[in-house]
Symmetry: C2
Subunit: 149 residues, 2 copies
């Protein structure tokens, strides 16, 4: 029973660490992306996800999953980006309920401007987190996940 309780506590602690690191990184990304490219983190996530998609288009629901957002939030997120002409909605031919989104040249350009900012901030945030004893082990573990790639 002691062993079982330990497992619970270890999970809880792992979750707290994960949440803390996530909060720290997201806050820094939010600031720098907002300052350098007028993009929020989710907005950047959308542009980035679209750019890494074959053919550069995704359905609303895919975007919702990629951003961990609700359907309604995704609609408005796409609205904002479309109003700024960073992407366009494209009606789906075979399934007339579906809507594809696709980056515009402006969207690609802004993404290419924002990506180095994103990457540099991420590197800096991880370095800072490295200094926090609580977070350091997770920071170390992170690059090992996809090291083989």
């Amino acid at each position: 029973m002691g062993i079982k309780d330990d497992a619970v506590e270890v999970r809880a602690q792992g979750w707290r660490t994960l949440a803390a690191l996530h909060g720290l990184i997201e806050a820094e990304l939010e600031r720098s992306l907002q300052a350098e490219a007028q993009l929020s983190v989710v907005e950047y996530t959308v542009l980035d996800a679209l750019s890494r998609q074959d053919g550069w288009h995704m359905r609303m629901q895919q975007l919702a999953r990629a951003t961990a957002l609700s359907a309604s939030a995704t609609t408005r997120l796409v609205n904002r980006l479309e109003e700024r002409a960073l992407l366009t909605r494209i009606l789906c031919a075979d399934d007339r309920r579906g809507i594809y989104t696709e980056l515009t040249p402006s969207g690609i350009a802004l993404l290419e401007q924002a990506r180095p900012v994103h990457d540099a901030t991420l590197e800096r945030a991880l370095a800072e987190a490295q200094e926090v004893p609580e977070l350091a082990p997770l920071v170390d573990a992170l690059p090992r996940l996809h090291a083989g790639v």
Copy 2:
């Protein structure tokens, strides 16, 4: 240069994995805690943090850090919990700017009711994440962080 670019991409991918897992877990916790204890995740985080604090009181700023929230959001978060009589504000004697927060008996009771829900949901969410190829490596790495405890 190829090596350096790889490091950037590995970091980005690690961050995407971290964000995805965080989003998945938080969404499930949000639902179950709301349903079973009328608590949001941050609200639970506050109660939990207070319960694990010596003397059971923390300053606003500590809470802000523990929840990765802004100062203003923390003020209102404490307002909500205080209105529900789950915690109380206590003026700091030595530093009259500071304000301590302390769990009430109701707060402790609700936390004790919510904690098993939280822990069970966390276990379930991690098990689900385990099934997602993208997330599995991180799920595996998580308990190793504090395994020695």
